[in-house]
């Protein structure tokens, strides 16, 4: 066979093989596109979760469960079924979330229930960098995707979250205190090994060893109580004032605070 013929034959075979690859890829393509869509949504939710944890947990709780008196839960049934009707929003819930996060809220829509982080205006800051906030639009869309991912759980379609921490023993003050710690959203900012992993406020592991000597004249018990009720009275070095909500004295009952202090005093 002459070289020209050989090259024409080999070239033809290669073209046929290439076409076969393209056809196989083409057959798989619709499935790949569908899979990619699902994976992309998953990655968006992952990213949204990280944005949520750094920006939103201070008011909406470590797992979006809401903080009584401050900001609503974003994972209860009412949020997914009634909220759009309450505010008269015509679009989808995801768009509603994007819109609210983007522009924030100047005044509370439910002032008797939620007053916002500091009780002043705006109750929810504007988050979009277009309006002076810290988040880009793609981050806001990611947060909305993350919150929408609560829907099956909120509507009771999937098993409830399994709490990692051993269930609190409600019969002792320490056990009830641990429950208060989680419900009031303390874990969003404070780390206690095995219970919470917040990274905004000081780590509370081994709190007892330090609490008694922080402020002269205050015992560990008094110091912890003061820190909860008047967070600005003493601020641990390296952290800034005004981050911790100052309204726990109003939000929590006296019993709850007593239980919480009892629980925190177990952190040797």
């Amino acid at each position: 066979m002459k070289r020209v013929q050989l090259e024409i034959v080999l070239g033809t075979i290669l073209v046929l093989l290439s076409s076969a690859i393209v056809i196989i890829l083409g057959v798989q393509e619709p499935q790949r596109l569908a899979d990619y869509e699902v994976q992309q949504r998953a990655q968006l939710i992952e990213y949204g979760a990280s944005v949520f944890v750094t920006n939103c947990t201070r008011c909406h709780g470590s797992q979006a469960q809401g903080i009584t008196g401050v900001a609503p839960s974003l994972r209860d049934e009412a949020f997914f079924t009634k909220r759009l009707g309450e505010v008269g929003w015509g679009g989808s819930l995801e768009d509603y979330i994007v819109s609210v996060v983007t522009t924030g809220r100047q005044i509370s829509t439910r002032p008797q229930l939620y007053t916002g982080a500091t009780g002043t205006s705006p109750v929810m800051p504007t988050w979009s960098e277009k309006f002076g906030g810290p988040l880009r639009d793609d981050q806001i869309r990611a947060v909305a995707a993350f919150i929408m991912n609560f829907e099956p759980y909120a509507l009771g379609q999937v098993a409830t979250l399994e709490p990692l921490a051993p269930l609190a023993d409600e019969s002792t003050p320490e056990g009830r205190g641990q429950a208060v710690f989680l419900q009031a959203g303390c874990g969003a900012c404070h780390t206690i090994s095995g219970i919470s992993s917040g990274n905004i406020g000081p780590v509370l592991d081994g709190l007892v060893s330090r609490a008694g000597s922080r402020v002269s004249g205050l015992t560990a018990d008094e110091y912890i109580r003061q820190s909860i009720m008047e967070p600005s009275a003493y601020v641990v070095e390296g952290f800034s004032d005004g981050i911790m909500p100052p309204n726990f004295a109003e939000v929590l009952s006296e019993d709850q605070i007593n239980d919480l202090v009892a629980f925190l005093l177990t952190l040797q």
Partner: protein
């Protein structure tokens, strides 16, 4: 009456129909092939000699525009595979692949920071063959860089840059620079972290230049930071300015080869005694039609086939990291690999080298050199050295006055070439992000398990293996962290495949523990207290938090470093 009509319509008598139809077809074929009859075309396909005189195949070269750009023939010796390796051909081939895939990608891409990243996602998730196109474009770009470098090396080692090809060499160096700049400008377009920071680091080099440095930086970025203006500038350079420049320079470069001096003959043919038979064979004409053309068609089909095989078996995949974030620099910011040598160059500080060498000697006389204030290393290594290297590269034909092209008669040139290759490889190694940059051990260890961008062992743990718990370093858990776990990795396809325990999670935990305990032994992390917490966050979202606590040897204070990773059930799993 019928005959009158026949005459009128110019229809030949029945016995001439066959010949008439054959002539009509033949005329059409001659028009389409710019001069070849159907008989001639058949001969061409079979590699037979021409059927008519004068040779109609040469007529094609004068009548067809595309063919007239090509040479009529090459002497047989200059087409030896071991002489050219077809490197220039493949570079051009990849350029054409880039143009074709690039034009299609342009349809979907939006050069605007708010939408650029989103549009790449749309290409990957919503465009039929979108991922294939993007991968082809990226593979072609990296291939073009490789082939243009190899082409340069081949030309250097065969001494083909010497007269009369000195100017062709110069245009070739320009093409190398154009290729590099095309790939660099394309790098920014996906607008992910990788792109944003590679280009931020790259353009920041100009900032240290004298007088015009900051202005040049501003000109490239369009603003102090790369934003809308910067992206648009890079985009327009990538899709208009530099493709046009590349076409212009390729034309000049190729015209020189095809019309002026042809491909160089191998040095053995030109400079050694050849027997008359060899001489005859060396000078045998390899005609454009059919020999060169059939060979080129074959090479093109081979090139396309190889690219498709690489992509089919996922040996190459264009990365897409998270959205560009000007507020957060990823830990291991790196340039594209073909610029690592430049990054390696930037890690050298000539001032401190000279100081370290000179000061012990000058110290005797009581003088202490302080060059670092005078010499900005970024300025020297980023703005002085690379342009100097490029100028030297351009000037090689004029520096090297040795008339011989035989390797054994130019040992210095060959030695230089080899040394140069090794220097570039060494510099590239120095340019990798891990080289010569100290990262705190805890950060390094966690970063190695789960890089800020990209996959890593931690993110590769299958969702089913993420059993909630706190896994403390130093504690003995036995051979597996979750011995009671059973799961099916792929229940739809393979029901019988059941994994016992959590091998991936265990492997990650063991690696984490080993590295940390070693660092503790080396006193880098005294009083180590570390754990990995796995927690359910949403019904289909789990957090994995490696945490390291240690006492800082310098200050005696307790330090904590941790990072929370969110892993969704549907996240892409890579094998």
């Amino acid at each position: 009456m019928l005959n009158a009509l026949r005459r009128r319509l110019n229809i030949p008598p029945r016995d001439q129909w066959r010949a008439t139809i054959a002539k009509i077809i033949d005329d059409r074929v001659r028009i389409i092939t710019a001069g070849l009859s159907i008989r001639e075309l058949r001969a061409v396909m079979r590699g037979d000699p021409p059927t008519e005189k004068p040779n109609p195949r040469y007529k094609v070269i004068t009548t067809s525009f595309i063919a007239h750009l090509r040479p009529r023939y090459y002497p047989q010796a200059s087409t030896w595979f071991t002489h050219t390796y077809r490197l220039g051909f493949f570079t051009t081939f990849l350029f054409i692949v880039e143009v074709i895939t690039g034009v299609v990608l342009m349809v979907y891409y939006i050069p605007f920071p708010d939408q650029a990243y989103e549009s790449i996602k749309v290409i990957e998730s919503n465009v039929f063959f979108g991922e294939l196109l993007r991968d082809l474009h990226r593979l072609g770009a990296e291939g073009m860089v490789i082939f243009s470098w190899l082409h340069l090396l081949r030309t250097y080692f065969t001494g083909s840059y010497k007269g009369p090809r000195t100017f062709t060499w110069l245009t070739g160096v320009f093409l190398l620079l154009i290729t590099a700049w095309l790939s660099f400008t394309g790098y920014l377009l996906p607008w992910d972290q990788l792109a944003y920071w590679a280009v931020t680091v790259g353009t920041s080099i100009t900032d240290s230049g004298p007088v015009v440095g900051p202005a040049l930086n501003l000109l490239m970025r369009g603003a102090p930071d790369i934003g809308t203006g910067g992206l648009l500038r890079f985009y327009l350079q990538h899709v208009i300015l530099f493709p046009l420049l590349a076409i212009a320079f390729i034309s000049i470069h190729y015209y020189k080869v095809s019309r002026e001096h042809s491909i160089s003959l191998p040095a053995v043919v030109e400079e050694t005694e050849r027997t008359p038979e060899q001489k005859k064979e060396d000078n045998r004409r390899i005609d454009l039609i059919p020999d060169l053309l059939s060979h080129e068609v074959f090479l093109v089909s081979l090139g396309i086939f190889i690219m498709l095989v690489i992509l089919y078996f996922r040996m190459f995949h264009s990365p897409l990291e998270t959205h560009a974030n000007p507020q957060a620099t990823p830990l291991d910011t790196k340039a594209p690999w073909y610029f690592w040598w430049l990054q390696g160059l930037l890690k050298i500080d000539p001032a401190s080298i000279i100081e370290n060498l000179a000061n012990p000697i000058l110290g005797i006389v009581g003088i202490k050199l302080e060059l670092s204030k005078l010499l900005n290393s970024k300025f020297i290594m980023g703005l002085i050295v690379p342009p100097t290297l490029i100028i030297i590269l351009m000037a090689i034909p004029y520096i090297d006055r040795n008339p011989s092209r035989l390797a054994r008669k130019r040992p210095f040139a060959i030695m230089w070439g080899i040394a140069w290759v090794f220097i570039v490889i060494a510099l590239s190694f120095m340019g990798t992000p891990q080289f010569g940059i100290e990262t705190p051990p805890a950060t390094r260890i966690i970063q190695d398990l789960a890089p800020e961008e990209g996959e890593g062992a931690l993110r590769a743990i299958p969702y089913d293996e993420l059993v909630q718990g706190i896994y403390v370093v130093g504690q003995d858990y036995g051979p597996d962290l979750c011995p009671t776990l059973h799961y099916q990795p792929n229940p739809e396809a393979d029901v019988d495949n059941v994994v016992v325990g959590c091998p991936h999670l265990t492997a990650v935990f063991n690696e984490f523990s080993e590295k940390l305990l070693k660092a503790e032994e080396e006193d880098l992390l005294p009083d180590l207290n570390a754990k990995i917490t796995v927690e359910q966050f949403q019904w289909n979202l789990i957090t994995v938090t490696p945490l390291v606590e240690w006492t800082d040897p310098e200050t005696g204070k307790t330090k904590t470093y941790f990072h929370t990773y969110f892993l969704h059930q549907d996240r892409p799993t890579q094998p």
